[in-house]
Symmetry: C2
Subunit: 428 residues, 2 copies
């Protein structure tokens, strides 16, 4: 790094140019070298635990001194368990098939040429994230396996930890004969660095932000390159007219109460009017026992208000759009599948929605007509996750329709180019 950090423009351009050079080498890197880098990284993460925790302690001390609340401080912490988890993640990625170079759908055309598609890296991605420093390793390892370069911009409160983690990654890359600049950490807490990172189309092909809705909206608005963005998760569970009652109770309970803070937790429960009398008092008792507040439409409110211990309040129009991330759920009785689908498409956030039903035509209509990144039949919305889907890891969850939708793994960091295999064909 020769540019002074005080000349932010030159510094970011230098990172960008180095990333672009590294991306060319990474795109052509042998699978064996990429896997060797991932295994070296896992080994270094385990061997360097004490050094990592010393760097992490500086961030933790500063966070406590700055008065960050306990959950924020906890998210910063690189415990042995966190380090072991990311090391195992690197080993799992090494064991996965290389997505780069895969050729699919080759078909012979009447002209004589054969046409197919080859999967190739996107190039350089910029990642902007907050607090948890393990995201550094997740992003770096996905970049390595997918043959991309990345520029990482972690939270300022995790900078010391992130710099040490990035140095580990760079050493692992060098050990495997790959360019260290394939993974670079922005070494400044200056917020203006983000503004540069998202407006360098000559160096950065796509931006992946993780953070609060405000941050992501701002980045989407100001970026000069595509953004793989995750906005909110207002996920629905719809209980249809024909159900397996015990199964529906278990799934609705899990979708809401397994964890309250993830984006794939259910925030709204829709119940077919023919099931309301059987289903609502039972789920209401479960929610009451777990302290989940129920924000209800008129009908559901009357059916739930007498459940012992239930916190039942009248829902407002705003509740149907709300992502609570808390022990609160909105509840509405609907006249049928049509109303359920149109309610979800209107008020939902196109993240993850599930139908609980034993009726096949209804299940298929829900699958096709609900316009969300993940649509589920008889399963908890909590499964909407790169690991659960078998992607090996996820760089983020997209609520967009363009390019990648839902959990984004290795494939979301690649694109398909056309390949034409000829024997001297010319166009007539």
């Amino acid at each position: 790094m020769t540019a002074s950090i005080h000349d932010l423009n030159a510094y970011m351009a230098e990172l960008g140019a180095a990333a672009r050079r590294a991306a060319t080498a990474m795109a052509a890197a042998p699978t064996a070298a990429k896997n060797a880098a991932l295994l070296a990284l896992a080994r270094r993460l385990r061997a360097q635990g004490p050094a990592l925790q010393a760097a992490n302690a500086k961030d933790l001390d500063a966070a406590v001194a700055a008065g960050l609340d306990a959950p924020m401080v906890d998210r910063l912490r690189l415990t042995p368990k966190v380090l072991e988890t990311v090391a195992e993640g690197c080993e799992q990625l090494a064991a996965m098939a290389d997505p780069v170079g895969e050729i699919t759908g080759v078909k012979r055309r009447p002209s004589g040429i054969s046409v197919g598609q080859m999967r190739v890296p996107l190039g350089v991605f910029g990642m902007i994230y907050e607090s948890r420093p393990n995201v550094t390793i997740e992003a770096a390892s996905l970049a390595i396996k997918s043959g991309n370069a990345c520029i990482l911009r972690g939270g300022s409160e995790a900078l010391q930890s992130n710099l040490v983690l990035a140095a580990l990654v760079r050493n692992a890359l060098a050990e495997a004969g790959l360019p260290a600049d394939a993974v670079q950490m922005v070494n400044t807490t200056d917020r203006a660095a983000v503004g540069h990172l998202i407006t360098m189309p000559e160096f950065v092909d796509v931006i992946i932000p993780r953070g609060g809705k405000g941050l992501i909206e701002r980045i989407s608005r100001e970026a000069k390159v595509p953004v793989i963005k995750h906005l909110d998760g207002n996920c629905h569970v719809y209980v249809d007219a024909e159900i397996d009652l015990e199964q529906a109770l278990a799934v609705a309970d899990n979708a809401k109460t397994h964890k309250y803070s993830p984006c794939n937790a259910a925030e709204s429960l829709l119940v077919h009017e023919r099931q309301a009398a059987a289903f609502l008092p039972r789920i209401g008792a479960i929610f009451a026992a777990k302290g989940v507040e129920m924000r209800c439409c008129g009908i559901s409110r009357r059916m739930l208000v007498d459940v012992p211990g239930a916190k039942v309040v009248a829902a407002t129009e705003a509740d149907w759009s709300e992502e609570y991330l808390a022990p609160i759920i909105s509840i509405k009785v609907v006249t049928g599948l049509d109303e359920a689908i149109s309610h979800i498409n209107r008020y939902g956030s196109h993240h993850t929605d599930a139908i609980l039903t034993t009726n096949h035509p209804n299940a298929m209509r829900f699958l096709r007509e609900v316009d969300s990144a993940s649509v589920m039949i008889n399963a908890s919305t909590r499964f909407a996750d790169g690991f659960e889907y078998g992607l090996g890891a996820e760089i983020g969850i997209s609520t967009d329709k363009f390019h990648a939708r839902g959990p984004v793994g290795l494939e979301g960091l690649t694109s398909l180019k056309w390949v034409v295999l000829g024997q001297g064909e010319v166009r007539g």
Copy 2:
């Protein structure tokens, strides 16, 4: 249309809201209804030939009166042949498999759920194009088959033709029981309409511009939604050290001279130094006979300057980046595959590039390392085209890496959502 055309903001919002409503119906439309609409459209195009040509005559008269040059006026003309071609295109689309609803890659996960992906429409696309009114039918028919709605903004010089064509499409949709608003034509020549169309993310999911580079750069810069854009096509043919000489001559000739104006015509010829003496005088004679000007590096210039009738000039640095769309080609002798690949990745436009070789490792390296939307072995760059690739039709050619790359057909107008098929699974 109730909004006054003088209130452009309200008019465009009305088109947008109608498109959004129609998109919901189109996404759920039965395959049979979409095919019926396409066949009805083909029938109406043939039956309404005289009416269409009367509307077209108004545009042609106005174009001549406005002093448009002859090639521009020709592009406007709806000849019986043009109408028959677009009618056949509709029938071909009707005969193709429906991309919507296709479910792929379903795998059982250890949790018990099955996870796969379903292909669904993008929603609403806005298309901005110039002169040729047959694009109206191409865009409308692709929208119908892919289950999208579209808002079309054709050139002002083709407005009368486009309005009559759009009315045909809307009648065909209605005949098939589908919403006429799935295809709407912007009925004003006010240029500000484009500004509205590209900044309505609540109504329009993606913009597809076709036109000059300046227009497309401006749209990309100002759009608030993703743009599937096609910039220039600086396509290369690289003649490797080991070749079938006669085949290489035929392919290089075809790539340059089959047609000069398409974006997939070759603009630059790279020749391995070991083939230069054998290949260059032969291709030089072919180009000389067809009046193709050769802009040459020092070595190729010395080898070509004595070819009888050859127009040989010294290439400048700017020539390596130039898209001539004319009987001009730049020619450079290179030391080998490495130089060829890095030259193409540096000066090319990531559109279409071909290697001519009998060496398998070199062919595979070129395929993998050239960073272009279409990469070809022993075939003319002129094949880079939706019809030639078997897409049935193309809405455009993308020079981006994100989402769709190269010729964009039905699949490029769709995205993949995740589907989860469960039997009551919950997350533990």
